[in-house]
Symmetry: C2
Subunit: 221 residues, 2 copies
């Protein structure tokens, strides 16, 4: 999330469309993630901004479109992160583990994004469906997984009959659950899934799980 800081200017109205727009998006991201779509208050977002509610409607049109814009930017951030991943030089096992770890790290580093995705699912992904930008956002991670799977199978290391999308779901599910459900899980089972002291434990657990699944001895099946 690109946060907006300004070198305390003299008072009086300053005009900067880009800054105002970005600041609204920043605050809206926090507010929607904090309270959900219906729980979020347009007035509250405006109050925590250096501008007014009028500007939210001026730039985004309404609460619904603002939420869509928040989603679009948040998804854009992961896509960028995914585009930066470079694991082609590693052997398939190491490459998959590295990819899983990157997913793990990204989920942990962006709890607000995880919450937004949960919220969007409560609403049946209606905003994604209504957004052209999100429709064609794709996923660089999928292409990477596809290539790793291929080379892993060629070399005989990977025995699992699984495609990139399903493997992505498997990796994401663990990372997502750990962050998204930490509150109920903690309250019910007394274990904090995002306890920093257990971070390495869960991180390697994920890698072990995925590698074990991909390389399991299937001759006896």
């Amino acid at each position: 999330m690109t946060s907006v800081e300004e070198p305390a200017r003299p008072n009086g109205r300053i005009r900067d469309a880009a800054r105002t727009r970005a600041e609204i998006l920043d605050v809206a991201t926090q507010e929607f993630a904090r309270a959900g779509y219906d729980g979020a208050r347009v007035d509250e977002i405006a109050a925590r901004t250096r501008t007014t509610k009028r500007m939210i409607y001026y730039y985004f049109g309404g609460k619904e479109q603002l939420f869509t814009a928040v989603l679009e930017r948040s998804y854009g951030v992961i896509r960028e992160a995914e585009q930066g991943l470079d694991v082609e030089h590693l052997d398939p096992v190491a490459a998959i583990r590295r990819l899983a770890e990157l997913t793990f790290d990204h989920h942990e580093a962006h709890p607000d994004f995880i919450r937004l995705v949960s919220i969007e699912n409560i609403h049946g992904a209606a905003h994604i469906a209504g957004s052209e930008k999100l429709g064609r956002i794709g996923s660089p991670a999928l292409d990477v997984i596809r290539r790793i799977l291929e080379s892993g199978r060629e070399s005989g290391l990977f025995t699992a009959d699984v495609d990139a999308v399903d493997l992505h779901a498997m990796i994401s599910s663990f990372c997502f659950f750990r962050v998204a459900n930490r509150h109920t899980f903690g309250a019910l089972f007394g274990r904090d899934l995002v306890d920093p002291a257990q971070r390495e434990h869960y991180r390697s657990m994920l890698g072990d799980m995925v590698i074990a699944y991909l390389t399991a001895d299937r001759t006896t099946d």
Copy 2:
């Protein structure tokens, strides 16, 4: 969810505290699951009931307490289901697979419950924290996992150093994600994770994953 049906009585006011209470809970479960806590409307719940809004406040006190009651009953349903599972007679590998399948089936059969848990996580599990009933609900599944893990490790079949709570998290994460995130996942990747035609595929994928993790050859680590 125990749904309430009545043999169409002659009109006129009927007094049945238990029925009225149960009917409110049924409708509230649907409405909260449909729209989230803040999106749900008390008037809407009342309208879809054979009683009035007044009764919701009479029996539950308010929207917040109604949601807590809905959660309490929903969690009670799984606990009951878990108590019915009988896998002690199976060998550890088969027992774990069976347990994973039961979790898989339960998640798929209760999408409303999954949504409620997502919603409760958005609110930081505040209602669970404020409920005595939910605080001491425990989890029969955990005891079962504990025993299976022990016997699996004794016989040398299981090599993974994992405890019951973490294994439960691993199994739940896959089952939960598949149902909770099906909308965004479907919209972004064009794959329906709850497509009935793919049900067996994902069900066995989960079992394979967990078993592979537990029994992986760790001599080379």
